[in-house]
């Protein structure tokens, strides 16, 4: 993960351990693409597509 394009959202995600430099995994996506579950280390977080769009990531080799 690189950055979050929304300061309100970023602080919320940072506090849950979802920060720049961390590896985010998309665990699953609900039908019709919304919402989704991501995981950072061992924390599972659900979030909506709108919010997910604001998270900038770089693809890593899995």
């Amino acid at each position: 993960m690189e950055e979050v394009l929304d300061s309100q959202l970023s602080i919320q995600l940072y506090c849950m351990g979802c920060l720049p430099g961390e590896k985010i995994t998309i665990e699953r996506i609900a039908p019709f693409g919304d919402p989704m579950i991501i995981s950072v280390e061992d924390t599972f977080i659900s979030l909506r597509k709108d919010d997910a769009h604001k998270i900038c990531v770089k693809r890593t080799e899995s």
């Binding site: 506090c15 665990e27 699953r28 039908p31 919402p35 599972f44």
Partner: protein, 657 residues
């Protein structure tokens, strides 16, 4: 960053009492620790001015040291974004508490140490006496991790106590650490934190936490618990099976609630009847006895009768919540509920609404978006609650023959199902309309941690049920009893001399035996309630209702199931032997003007729909006043649901007649 005013004190050696403030992330086991510390010695209240639950309790730390425990709402950091987190923030920065020495106990989930240490580090920088309780050490072990506790404690500058709060392990050690606590000003976790904004502050903190953990946390392999959770999630939040499983769970839940609660409800009902009879027999005849038996006692019975259903429903909800499944249900439902202006989290109040809207509306507090929370509160009373069941049962049995089939299903059962569905659809439809009407600048999110799956912690489950039921008894109870007393006055007294005349007439008749019900019925007709019923008859005539139904609609404001009792009194005319059941009496009822049956299919269906929609519950109105902080929304809700009920009943009556 906030300036904390928690009192600094060197040791607790000479103190008699200390205030323990529990702070921690959501899902860190804070309530488990709180329950282990306080047991039944706890109270649930509100923080002043806001609708955030405040739990306080007492515990003995040593023979000479007692503690008052405050459980602050779970929070991820000290930058408040919801009402819950604001409360934590405000509490810690409140300057007016000087009565007791205070000690902060930070509960951190050791299996998620990095994230949990963020809040801990912010709290340490408040420079108040702090102990860290490192919870869920069992999971750390299972995940093949090891934590250097001594090193961690040195790095952070505060005592660290390992524990497993779910089984109470480490609680004694924590008490010991509290008793032996010695305050030394800790090293600043990060320098000059006040000058940085929240975001960079957080990043700097995490950098340091990572450095510490590199030395203090040893990972020996893959996390077992996350793997298990992924496996279970594969099934439970599957894009297709997930929904089927949820529906199945829901179906089983309601099956269990209805079948298991029948017996205890019968006991309670009969118990109240027998004891009420006993009361009126032993006490001297008079107004006070009548008031006590027919007003207060009957009102009390009307509340207690719902306890089995409410307890069962909240038991299931508490278990589902504690295992981590309910968070997944919110995830599954978010996409659907979002379209209707609600939130995935709204599913919990909507489920609870099937038992009783009062505690359900209070559980809407977890929704941080104000508009979504308001909409949830607004539509929850449309879900058919357990008070409607007796009304539905009586009316369905009255207008639909038991042997009637629809395809292969029993028609009575189908109508019952349809009424529940009607409530749910009305709730969603209303919310959809309100979504466009209520304006809000606040953006809606659904950012929620999905905790790993765990066995339910039975102590937590029990405490949740205990607190919810107590809340229902107190909140709904006082309203229902008050309204019952008012209704008793309205139906026992009447304008002019009519009431006494009826009494005299029956007395003159002499043969009083077997006529008491007839007397009661005639008196009810002449009472204020009777006059009120007749006054509204022209208004409800288009719905197919007569004045007797009018009285019942009025008395139903105490609680909907009062309908059945009122009907029983009203229809005792002409049955001096009292051999017919209330259903048979109502089935025979005729309109005096036309000679037609009163309870035709049209009237029955119309009345069913009316009860499905109308907000005939003073306890709900009272709780909405409290939760929304004013009379505006409850009055709109009352008017809206009234109009909806009226129009729907009108249409139904016109279609079927």
């Amino acid at each position: 960053m906030i300036e904390s005013t928690l009192r600094k004190h060197a040791t607790l050696k000479d103190e008699e009492k200390v205030r323990l403030i529990l702070v921690g992330n959501p899902n860190s086991g804070k309530s488990s620790l709180f329950n282990h510390l306080t047991g039944l010695n706890q109270r649930v209240g509100n923080f002043p001015g806001v609708t955030v639950e405040k739990k306080t309790g007492g515990v003995k730390i040593t023979d000479s040291l007692k503690a008052e425990v405050i459980d602050l709402p779970g929070t991820y950091s000290l930058s408040p974004r919801s009402e819950d987190e604001q409360v934590t923030f405000d509490y810690l920065s409140d300057k007016n508490r000087k009565d007791l020495p205070e000690l902060m106990v930070v509960i951190a989930d050791a299996s998620n140490l990095k994230r949990n240490l963020l809040l801990a580090s912010q709290l340490i920088d408040l420079e108040v006496p702090t102990i860290i309780a490192l919870n869920m050490m069992d999971i750390v072990q299972r995940n093949n991790q090891e934590i250097d506790l001594k090193g961690l404690s040195e790095d952070l500058g505060v005592p660290v106590v390992p524990m497993n709060a779910r089984i109470g392990k480490g609680v004694e050690e924590l008490k010991k650490a509290i008793a032996e606590f010695e305050y030394k000003p800790p090293k600043k976790f990060i320098e000059d934190h006040a000058s940085k904004d929240g975001l960079s502050n957080t990043v700097v903190r995490f950098d340091k936490i990572k450095l510490i953990l590199k030395q203090r946390l040893f990972d020996k392999g893959e996390s077992v618990t996350a793997k298990t959770t992924r496996k279970i999630d594969k099934l439970l939040v599957h894009p297709i099976w997930g929904y089927f499983i949820f529906l199945f769970v829901l179906f089983m839940m309601f099956q269990a609630i209805f079948s298991w609660s029948n017996l205890p409800m019968d006991w309670i009902e009969n118990g109240f009847l027998v004891f009420g009879q006993l009361l009126s027999d032993t006490l001297p005849d008079g107004v006070l006895t009548d008031l006590l038996v027919d007003g207060v006692w009957a009102g009390l019975g009307g509340i207690i009768i719902f306890i089995p259903q409410i307890t069962l429903l909240f038991t299931f909800i508490a278990i589902l919540e504690d295992t981590g499944y309910l968070a997944r249900v919110s995830y599954l439902m978010d996409a659907l509920l979002k379209r209707f202006g609600l939130n995935g989290r709204s599913i919990i109040p909507l489920l609870g609404g099937a038992a009783c809207a009062v505690p359900a509306i209070m559980s809407a507090r977890t929704i941080s978006n104000k508009k979504e929370r308001l909409l949830t509160i607004f539509v929850t009373p449309l879900i058919s609650c357990s008070a409607r069941i007796p009304v539905y049962t009586l009316l369905i049995a009255l207008v639909i023959p038991a042997e009637k089939q629809l395809w292969t299903f029993n028609l009575q059962g189908v109508v019952m199902m349809a009424l529940y569905l009607l409530g749910f659809v009305a709730a969603l439809g209303t919310s959809l309309a309100m979504k466009y009407w209520v304006k809000s600048e606040e953006r809606s999110h659904f950012i929620m941690e999905l905790p790993i799956y765990r066995q339910p912690r039975w102590k937590n489950v029990l405490m949740t049920i205990y607190n919810k039921v107590k809340l229902f008894l107190v909140e709904a109870g006082k309203i229902i009893i008050a309204v019952s007393v008012i209704l008793w006055v309205l139906s026992s007294y009447g304008p002019g001399e009519k009431m006494t005349e009826i009494d005299q007439k029956y007395e003159a008749l002499g043969a009083f035996e077997g006529k008491s019900e007839q007397l009661a019925s005639e008196k009810l007709e002449e009472s204020y309630a009777g006059h009120l019923g007749k006054a509204i008859e022209p208004v409800i005539r288009p719905l197919g209702f007569d004045w007797k139904i009018g009285i019942s609609i009025i008395t139903s404001f105490a609680a909907r199931e009062v309908f059945v009792g009122t009907m029983a009194t009203l229809y005792s005319v002409g049955d001096s032997e009292n051999t017919l059941t209330i259903k048979e009496k109502m089935a025979r009822a005729q309109d005096p003007r036309t000679g037609e049956k009163v309870y035709t299919k049209a009237t029955g269906y119309s009345l069913l729909v009316f009860y499905a929609f109308a907000l005939q519950c003073m306890a709900t109105v009272a709780i909405v006043v409290k939760e929304t902080g004013g009379w505006k929304w409850p009055l709109i809700q009352l008017a809206y649901m009234g109009v909806l009920a009226y129009l729907a009943s009108f249409i139904v009556f016109q279609i079927f007649s």
